[in-house]
Amino acid sequence: MAEVTLENVTKRFGDFTAVKELTMEIEDGKFTVLVGPSGCGKTTTLRMVAGLEEITEGDIKIGERVVNRVPPKDRDIAMVFQNYALYPHMDVFNNMAFGLKLRKTPKAQIRERVHEAADLLGITDKLKSKPRELSGGQRQRVAVGRAIVRNPKVFLFDEPLSNLDAKLRVQMRTELEQLHHKLQTTTIYVTHDQVEAMTLGDRIAVMKDGVVQQYAPPQETYDHPNNQFVAGFIGSPAMNLLPAQAASENGRTVLSSAGFRIALPEARSKQTLPSSVVLGVRPEDLDGPAPDAEGTITLTVSVTEQLGHSLLVYGNLDETQIVASLDPHRRVEIDSTIHLTVNLDTLHVFDPESQETLL
């Protein structure tokens, strides 16, 4: 096991900069998730750690060793690929044993390690099968098994669950969580799915355009997003982002637009806000019935979605769609007007220019 350190890592493909001066420390034994939309540089970053992609500038260290020029085979890492990348001409046992054989591990030990991993993943009865005879979930398990038998310093996962169907994905997700809990190996996990990122990561790095926007524990990215992008990316349904005017009245900040007027308590007020801002409110922070509370948004309901554990209500406010997550037992009629009370403690204010968090 080892920590992984990236220092000012830049990757350019011709004129295109995929990763820009990335600096990040991945702690020993921790599960770190790189998350972001496609093309944000997360997979490129992972591939640079793996040694499959050359580093244009900067250093990557695994443990104390700078590995910039170390070929993948000598980095003592294991990787699970999106399409599993199982060797089609080898059976499951040999797929898992291949890395050990290359390291000239004694035969008895190979058998022991492979069986141990197969037991752990519940694929012992498949050891003699070829990959094409397996289902997607089983293939994924073999790919994970191939990674864990070698007991590497670092696990790298490149969107390992994206080829599985929804149900299996949730199941494999919890299995990966258990596995990491058991093995405590440093893990870097790439995904575009923020739910996976939230559930799996000890820390998550939200990336956009080759730059890490926020690198923090999942709850922190949710509660205190660094900027508008992180705020919109983390959480489902996404945070409502509403343009608003900011003004100061009696020491309290007032955010207003055609559809609402929200006065912040003094404790959360700030004098230095620019006059036009973006108000960010999560759907679940709009769940208050009281029409006379400090901040309410009045909305005409256009669509409702009953999810069982919550009721999603959609409506338009000045051409901006708003979604609120309400108590599922509340009855809301389409085309009716409802008042949503904004949770003043958890609302966010962003700068429309720089998109940075102001409040």
């Binding site: 990787m79 399409n83 199982l86 291949f98 290359l102």
Partner: protein, 348 residues
């Protein structure tokens, strides 16, 4: 209809004269008439089975296959049968003319015992080993290595060009390469020019029997066909998902192990098809030999001998026997290729 209604009286008269039943159920009436006697019943059975045949799906499927079967029968099966038969007959241009006599196994004895045919068989074996091994081997190495070259397409096109030249053209080119002039004259062949420039004596490359000249001829074949093998193997190589190779590298494989343990096993089915194609190519190798040495100086091959016996010596009997030998040699490789192809298609 209008006609009938206009003159119902006439219709009635006809109906009575021929029989109402014949009008209402003409087929039934005929059948009942025929069933009265034994020959009629026989005729009826014949008609019925014919009708069934014409109605059956089998007839329709045969009708689709028939043109192909006729062509294959006429252009493939018939000549093959005639060639096999002709191999038991003697000299002459006619197939089975009055001057052509039955000679039993004489031609076959010639095929397997005459010194020239033994040389030809040996040379074909030499070709089969060297030519197939080198074309497939070089093709494989080039396919994998050129994948990493920046100007891959350009280089591959250059290497493929010889496969696009006619065999006679290739042979003429290489005849110049191997050209030999006495020591006191300027060498026009590049090989001897180099030898002389380095202070050596010019060598009659194609006269150095039996190994040098045969191997140099095989080199010509390799030069011509390596590009073809490379292109097919390269396509197969590009079909291997790249993460597979990356997974192996991360698993700890160096480039040799990646090649040996991943690429090679995955290319093996394609390589086998290419190899059998090359063996078939060897068995019918003719143009290079015919143009460069015409089989002299111990460079004879089976196909060239077949040509000579038929068209120079008018000995169709011998030529046919040689042709049948070629056919028999080629069959196992054809079966291998067809089987593998069927397996591949079946896997889809």
């Amino acid at each position: 209809m209008g006609d009938h209604r206009a003159r119902p009286g006439r219709l009635k008269r006809i109906a009575h004269s021929v029989g109402l039943k014949l009008i209402r159920d003409p087929a039934g009436a005929v059948v009942r008439f025929l069933e009265r006697g034994a020959p009629g019943r026989l005729l009826l059975r014949l008609i019925r089975s014919l009708v069934r045949w014409f109605r059956s799906v089998r007839w329709r499927s045969w009708s689709f296959v028939a043109p192909a079967l006729l062509l294959i029968g006429f252009f493939l099966v018939y000549p093959t049968v005639v060639t096999i038969a002709r191999s038991f007959f003697g000299r002459g241009i006619d197939l089975f003319g009055p001057n052509v006599e039955f000679v039993g196994l004489t031609n076959w004895k010639y095929v397997f015992t005459s010194p020239i045919m033994l040389t030809a068989l040996r040379n074909n074996a030499l070709w089969a080993v060297l030519f197939t091994g080198c074309t497939v081997g070089f093709g494989l190495v080039l396919a994998v290595m050129l994948d990493r070259v920046k100007y891959e397409k350009f280089v591959k096109s250059i290497i493929f060009i010889p496969a696009a030249i006619s065999g006679v053209g290739v042979a003429v080119i290489w005849k110049f390469v191997y050209a030999f002039r006495p020591a006191h004259i300027d060498q026009i062949g590049i090989l001897n020019a180099i030898v002389v420039a380095l202070g050596g004596q010019p060598v009659g490359w194609l006269l150095e029997r039996p190994w040098v000249n045969n191997i140099l001829l095989i080199v010509v074949g390799i030069w011509m066909w390596t590009g073809f093998c490379m292109v097919i193997l390269s396509a197969a190589y590009k079909n291997i998902p790249k993460p597979l190779l990356e997974a192996a590298r991360i698993d700890g494989a160096n480039e040799w192990r990646v090649f040996r343990n991943i690429i090679l096993p995955l290319l093996a089915p394609t390589a086998a098809v290419v190899a059998t194609t090359m063996v078939v190519q060897v068995l019918k190798i003719f143009d290079i030999i015919y143009v460069m040495t015409n089989g002299n100086f111990d460079t004879e091959v089976i196909a060239n001998r077949m040509y000579k016996e038929a068209f120079l010596f008018n000995n169709y009997g011998r030529s046919s026997a040689i042709a049948v030998v070629l056919l028999i040699l080629v069959v196992p490789f054809m079966i291998m290729n067809i089987r593998r192809f069927a397996k591949q298609e079946g896997g889809r």
